[in-house]
């Protein structure tokens, strides 16, 4: 089942230890329901939603508690039933004061009335996208882009292929792997719903060849489904990057500053497909997700948790830290290549948080940057074909103009260059900062 399909560049992080996935990939998903959830209003890319409940209110499962704001807005739903105990800013992974609603679970799991559309093959196609929006579905692979916006095909555009991203190239994570094994039919249902919504004839489920069982399971589930195929890909990071995936699957390249739809492709994470299926078939909003908890925890696992569950609950459910608490050096939300470090372990899980990895102090200590030796490894590793070595110099010098000329805006912030650099230079960090700076400048120019 191994495959040669891949892109140019890339790296093989933790290749010697099965990309860090060994401890959790054989573990079936367990349910965990928290006593208290803190649901962030800004879990998607775009303006945070506005809370529409007050302290003391009783909410039911799936009841909207946040109203969408702006073009990229999404509703937020209660992930447990119970009493609202707080509405106000909390610390999230990246934002020290993020608006959130805290609900004390009464463990009754009473649902609000739902509007299921029924079978994905027969339901009215024009109601699929509104259902997805109402369910608050956003990309669950990490970027958290509102899914219904991806489906907004503009005048003159069309989509001919939907790619389901099951590559899971990020290290440590196995939540998509487990989902594909345990819920393969729902994933295909979600893909079919998306295809029907836009009248797309071709759906491709792309999976890295280090997950042969998932490829098998998805092939079985896809049998007899119209236009759906499974495509194994070579195991290499960042195989699951949107641009890389589109190139590998369709042979097309997304032109710079354009979107996948400009080359007639939409890419969805497998978890998003499952959420779409839930929204269409059952009318259920997105209130839970599977999260991989691994690293220095006693019992690395995949947990199906309610949105808003604190990370500390996940770690306790996995038997707690396997090293003394003083030796815990870093708790990362996501995988090793792109994950965000948590400021403390009580931050809540959002819709797009696919994993929690615990590092020891020794592993977490920041390596000292040393001079570039011009070995060219970063150039070979860059999946985009940039010259990170030169770009780093320009970014550190603050030269926005020339960094732009060297195509810093095309950087996908995958971390391959920083990973491979023998001088431990923090290339990706510099590029991210420069991208943000240029984007801010552009916004200023417009506004």
């Amino acid at each position: 089942m191994s495959s040669n399909r891949t892109f140019r560049g890339g790296v093989h992080p933790l290749h010697g230890s099965h990309e860090g996935k060994a401890p959790t990939r054989g573990e079936a998903v367990r349910d965990y329901i928290a006593q208290t959830v803190t649901i962030l209003m800004g879990m998607h890319l775009g303006a945070p939603s506005t809370p529409c409940v007050q302290v003391g209110d009783h909410v039911k499962l799936g009841q909207p508690i946040g109203e969408p704001v702006g073009f990229l807005g999404l509703p937020v739903h209660a992930s447990v039933s119970g009493e609202v105990v707080a509405v106000g800013p909390v610390q999230s992974v990246t934002n020290p004061s993020a608006m959130a609603v805290t609900i004390k679970n009464d463990f009754k799991d009473e649902w609000v009335p739902l509007n299921p559309l029924g079978d994905v093959e027969t339901c009215p196609a024009d109601q699929i996208v509104p259902a997805i929006k109402a369910a608050g579905v956003c990309g669950m692979g990490g970027a958290s882009f509102p899914t219904h916006v991806k489906f907004a095909v503009k005048e003159g555009q069309y989509c001919d292929t939907i790619i389901l991203n099951g590559a899971e190239c990020e290290t440590h994570l196995t939540c998509d792997h487990r989902l594909m094994l345990e819920d393969s039919k729902r994933i295909v249902d979600g893909l079919r719903a998306a295809m029907r919504a836009l009248g797309v004839k071709k759906g491709v489920i792309a999976i890295e060849d280090n997950k042969p069982d998932a490829i098998e399971a998805m092939r079985k589930a896809a049998q007899g489904r119209e236009g759906v195929e499974v495509m194994p890909l070579l195991t290499k990071y960042p195989q699951g990057g949107e641009k890389q995936l589109i190139h590998v699957v369709t042979g097309r390249e997304v032109p710079t500053k354009k979107l996948p739809l400009d080359v007639h492709v939409i890419v969805l994470n497998v978890g998003t497909a499952k959420a779409i299926a839930d929204a269409v078939i059952d009318g259920r909003p997105l209130i839970s997700r599977i999260t991989t908890v691994t690293g220095h925890v006693k019992k690395p696992s995949n947990l199906r948790v309610r949105v808003g569950t604190p990370v500390s609950d996940l770690i306790r459910e996995c038997g707690g830290y396997s090293i003394p608490e003083s030796d815990v050096g870093k708790v990362v939300m996501g995988g090793a290549m792109t994950g965000f470090p948590c400021p403390h372990d009580r931050v809540p899980v959002a819709k797009a948080n696919n994993g929690v990895v615990v590092y020891s102090q020794r592993e977490a200590v920041e390596l000292e940057e040393s001079p570039c030796i011009r070995c060219g490894r970063c150039i070979d590793a860059c999946p985009i074909g940039l010259n990170p070595c030169k770009l780093k110099y320009l970014c550190d010098a603050g030269d926005m103009k020339r960094a732009g000329e060297e195509n810093v805006m095309d950087c996908v912030v995958c971390g391959s260059c920083s990973y491979i650099c023998p001088a431990r230079r923090r290339l990706t960090t510099s590029f991210k900062a420069m991208k943000d700076k240029i984007a801010a400048e552009a916004r200023k120019g417009k506004g």
Binding site: V11, P13, L14, T171, K243, H247, E253, V254, P255, T256, E325, S326, V328, G329, K330, V331, V332, G334, A336, M337, T338, G339, P341, C342, P343, H344, D345, V357, Y359, Q361, A364, L367, S370, P371, I373, R374, C375, G376, I379, C382, I384, G385, L386, N387, C389, G404, E405, E406, N407, D410, G415, S418, Y419, I420, P422, A423, R424, T428, T429, K432
Partner: protein, 304 residues
């Protein structure tokens, strides 16, 4: 709990600068051993002096210029070791020491240190020594146990040595370059540990042999004589001074091989590897300009 907040990626390739330099030192050890076997302990003394001088030179330079002392990245040791192996056994101690200091201070330090020099320090130092004190750099002691004080190198009198002699190295020459077997062991080690790619050494030796053949030299003898193999494996592959992109590296290596053949045939020096690689180093920035990778989503050569 004291959590670090350093940004992604949170894992790093195990190959640090230091590990890479250590790999080169390990790969050079067979050459050192072979040199001692061929020329006796005078060879070891020369190599040690230049290595110690390079390391001390870097240490003192970095301390004087108030930089962070980074001798522990081993790059100065590699430079000194390679320079020592490029000298004749029994070269005066001050010559080896001066070469080591020139390499790390003038060729590297003045430009900013590791990674900032545009030309290979060990080779530039050798060229400096050859220009300044030519009599010591063209005086080749005979291998230990051979009844002569000095002898003609294979390049000066082609055909006087068998292929086996050339390969095993009981011939006059620079300490590190004589034993091709040792160099090949080092080469395999470097390729297996992914320290270097096979590309530059193979392309350079092949190009030199082929061009030499066109100019009337025996290709096997070309490949096995003088410092070609040593230079191709250990010096042309210097990260800092070779092109960074793969197509650039091909052109660089083929060009260096061509220059070796031309120098050996036409110049006053019997050996041209030093100059060939130095000239290739100088063209490397231009090659890097010519051969850039196409950026995803851009037409070839298109600018943002």
């Amino acid at each position: 709990m004291n959590l670090h907040l350093s940004p992604a990626p949170h894992v790093h390739s195990p190959q640090s600068t230091r590990v890479l330099m250590l790999n080169v030192i390990v790969a050079l050890l067979p050459c050192v051993i072979a040199g001692v076997w061929v020329f006796g302990f005078a060879a070891l003394a020369t190599v040690l002096v230049s290595t110690v001088a390079a390391v001390l030179g870097e240490l003192v330079w970095q301390a004087l210029t108030k930089q962070k002392v980074r001798v522990d990245d081993l790059s100065a040791a590699v430079t000194g070791l390679i320079l020592g192996l490029n000298l004749p056994a029994g070269a005066p101690w001050w010559l080896a020491a001066l070469g080591g200091v020139f390499a790390v201070v003038i060729v590297k330090g003045l430009f900013g240190g590791l990674g900032d020099n545009f030309i290979n320090p060990a080779l530039a130092a050798r060229a400096m020594l050859l220009a300044s004190w030519p009599k010591y750099l063209t005086h080749w002691p005979a291998p230990a146990g051979v009844d002569a004080v000095t002898a003609a190198t294979p390049l000066a009198s082609p055909g006087s040595y068998t292929t086996a002699q050339l390969f095993l190295g009981r011939i006059p020459g620079a300490i590190g370059e004589v034993c091709k077997l040792a160099i090949l062991i080092g080469f395999v080690y470097l390729v297996v540990t992914k320290t270097i790619s096979w590309r530059i050494p193979v392309a350079m030796v092949a190009s030199a042999a082929l061009c030499g053949w066109v100019l009337g030299a025996n290709p096997v003898a070309t490949a096995l004589s003088g410092g070609l193999l040593f230079g191709a494996v250990f010096m042309a592959t210097d990260y800092v001074t070779c092109p960074m992109t793969v197509p650039g590296q091909w052109v660089y290596a083929v060009g260096a091989g061509l220059l070796v053949a031309i120098f050996r045939r036409f110049s006053v020096y019997p050996e041209g590897v030093t100059y060939a690689i130095l000239l290739a180093n100088i063209s490397a920035p231009l090659l890097d300009r010519c051969f850039r990778r196409r950026v995803y989503g851009h037409e070839k050569g298109e600018k943002a």
